[in-house]
């Protein structure tokens, strides 16, 4: 993972005993002992068959699950320039606490990640501060102005994992077309935030029954789908590769499915909040933590996203982790910035709301929570002998109230706050080192 950066940590020597290992891509779904030596998976053996060698810590996996670590292709770490919301340390700590072993940070920072020097200094900071490997995207246009392309080839050489103006659409088709042409040189994914500003207007939530009731300006579903349709046409014409970020609407799922059927190289992600919540939540409480872009939409849209995950139209789950400081969110709804944190709650939200009720199979969720790695050509975490250790250990029975014990993130604007969720991450091993361990989860013993 040379395009990812993190601070050097002592490689783990661990024996996880008796955990139910579920790695759908490796076709493992049974209790095993997993031995890690010097950060590498040394042995996968029947439960309680391995003895811990000298100096190896034993974790009790009995009744717990071991998954390949999650990879999030879409997070905001707010660094540089907005470290009061999040920094590389707090953001990657939040990620590790959510079971993530790698995250990809968006470039809408201050300054924008739009030149090789900014990217290089950011990667250097990550090598000092990041607890798990972090990759960085660069912007498609300079300063996200939507007008002038960044030096994509040079940025790719400097380690940009992809390009995106996330937070904004590339409004001018001609600019996106040029970016798609330049993609042949830079050879990196273009990730697109799809929204037609002339349709979104001053909207602050989904346009529909709830916005009509509340008197809030709405963002119509077609604001997203019309731009997806346009950009799929552009990508098809230029034979480019695009990824659609944070899908929210049924029309958008349809637009992706049609483009895929035509052979366009297009992929898509959906967020845990769009998969589990709807605009109805705003009727219960007009909570600024529920304000994000794209907005929470209708039940019909939510069902379409779930169907899209099941049939493969949607390739991965991404959190769009978007921290904001308390004083920024503690204002009237229309004034508040868009965004919810999501790294710490992603698995638990999807597990509680979709796996427990039988809507989605567990193995599909585990797969989709790391599938984003492949989009940016990162290796998929695998629980396989000889692989570096990238996994997370969870207690699926543990139930907790979100926010009750605080957050690892520097910000607390989590849309799931106050909800009771099941599925707690006990420990995360990323790039061969222990990146997170639940405070209450003690070691069984060291041999």
């Amino acid at each position: 993972m040379s395009r990812l950066d993190h601070r050097a940590q002592r490689p783990a020597d661990l024996l996880i005993r008796g955990a139910h290992v579920l790695d759908p891509r490796e076709r493992i779904d049974a209790p095993h002992d997993v031995l890690v030596r010097d950060g590498v998976i040394a042995e996968i053996a029947p439960p309680n068959s391995l003895d811990a060698p000298d100096g190896v810590e034993v974790l009790d996996g009995e009744g717990r699950h071991l998954f390949p670590g999650f990879v999030d292709p879409h997070v905001h770490l707010r660094t540089p320039g907005q470290e009061h919301k999040e920094d590389l340390d707090s953001g990657t700590r939040a990620a590790a606490a959510g079971g993530y072993v790698a995250v990809v940070a968006m470039p809408n920072t201050d300054p924008t990640v739009d030149s090789a020097p900014v990217l290089r200094s950011l990667r250097e900071a990550a090598r000092r501060e990041a607890r798990i490997p972090v990759g960085f995207m660069a912007s498609i246009t300079r300063g996200l102005d939507g007008e002038a392309l960044t030096e994509m080839a040079e940025l790719a050489d400097a380690g940009a994992l992809g390009f995106t103006d996330d937070g904004k659409p590339v409004h001018r088709a001609g600019i996106l077309r040029k970016a798609l042409q330049y993609q042949r040189l830079a050879n990196r994914l273009l990730c697109l935030h799809e929204e037609d500003p002339t349709l979104s207007g001053r909207g602050v939530m989904h346009e529909g029954e709830v916005s009509a009731r509340l008197g809030l300006a709405g963002i119509p579903s077609i604001s997203e789908s019309t731009l997806i349709a346009r950009d799929a046409s552009l990508a098809g014409y230029e034979d480019g590769r695009i990824h659609i970020q944070h899908l929210s609407a049924r029309e958008s799922v349809d637009a992706i499915a049609q483009a895929k059927a035509r052979g366009v190289k297009i992929t898509a992600e959906a967020s845990p909040h769009h998969l589990t919540l709807t605009h109805e939540a705003l009727l219960e409480r007009l909570d600024t933590r529920l304000k994000m872009n794209p907005p929470l939409r209708s039940e019909d849209d939510r069902r379409a996203l779930i169907a899209g995950l099941l049939d493969g139209t949607i390739d991965c789950i991404a959190t769009d982790h978007a921290p904001h400081a308390r004083e920024e969110k503690e204002v009237p709804f229309e004034e508040a910035p868009m965004g919810t944190t999501g790294l710490e709650t992603a698995f638990a939200a999807v597990y509680t709301e979709l796996v427990v009720p039988g809507v989605l199979p567990l193995e599909l969720v585990v797969d989709k929570l790391s599938a984003g790695a492949a989009l940016v050509e990162l290796p998929l975490p695998a629980i396989r002998r000889g692989e570096g250790a990238n996994f997370c250990l969870l207690d699926l029975e543990a139930e907790y109230e979100v926010g009750e014990a605080g957050y690892e993130s520097r910000s607390e604007n989590c849309c799931f706050a106050g909800r009771r969720l099941r599925g707690r991450v006990l420990a995360t091993v990323a790039a061969g080192a222990v990146a997170f361990r639940q405070r209450t989860f003690s070691v069984v013993g060291a041999a």
């Binding site: 008197g215 809030l216 204002v331």
Partner: protein, 312 residues
Amino acid sequence: MRHLLSIEDLDRAAIERILDRAKSFTEVSEREIKKVPALRGRRVLNLFYEASTRTRSSFELAAKSLSADVINFAAGGSSVEKGESLKDTVQTLSAYQPDLIVIRTPHVGAAKLVADWTTASVVNAGDGKHEHPTQALLDVYTLRERLGGIDGRSIWIVGDVTHSRVARSNIHAFQKMGAKVTVCGPPTLIPRDIEALGCDVAYTLDGLEKADVVYALRMQKERMTDSFVPSIREYAAQYQIDGRRLGARQVLMHPGPVNRGVELAAEVIDSPQAVIGQQVAAGVVTRMAVLYELLAGRTAPDRGPLPVGAGA
């Protein structure tokens, strides 16, 4: 009842109780000394983040008629202009220990936030495009006076429904009181899915003649610059209530201030069908009844420590 934040929080019985009390207060305005001691020693804080003539003055008059002390706080010329947040302003003003805060802001849900940040009772005097519950109460009061009641009556609300908190509160209030509501206006100014509130939708005035009550909304000139309507001239041609369109037995209402020659023609403003002046007068007694409902008989709020961090 602790706060009045939304008409949706009131049932028909509560609306009738408030309006009956408003009726009993009309007698106060007819006295030589227009004051009763019902709320003597209580503090009412008017916190207005938007310009308002009649709402602010009628709340002030209502509070003073009940012998409460009134502090007026307008956002202009205050620390709000120096960037003080709504939360800090409310918590600062709460140190004056108001018993009740009347708040108007351009932001949906702000009255609810204020209610979370203070121990005082809160009356929503308009939160963005969301609600204006005392306007709805005074409108129902006015119609009760004119028609006896509105059970089974047909009420048309005509104009810019999208940007109207008056429309939203009145759709709820009129329906709770048994009326059938139709909203009518240009398709660009009728919110998508507004039918979910239980009203009918019309895009032309065809059928207006069947209405018992015509409630015209204010048409703001800036809607033209945002392309919601191509021109005010065309809007007036399509939707203006004039002497030709208004029937002799219909009742005409408007929340004020009126744009003469836009939503209403001059001849109907001064017609016997219009109850626009009565609406203004009803504002005082209705707001007296609301203040009384929230404060009389209630012991002073618990002055415990302010709920720091309460609410979102």
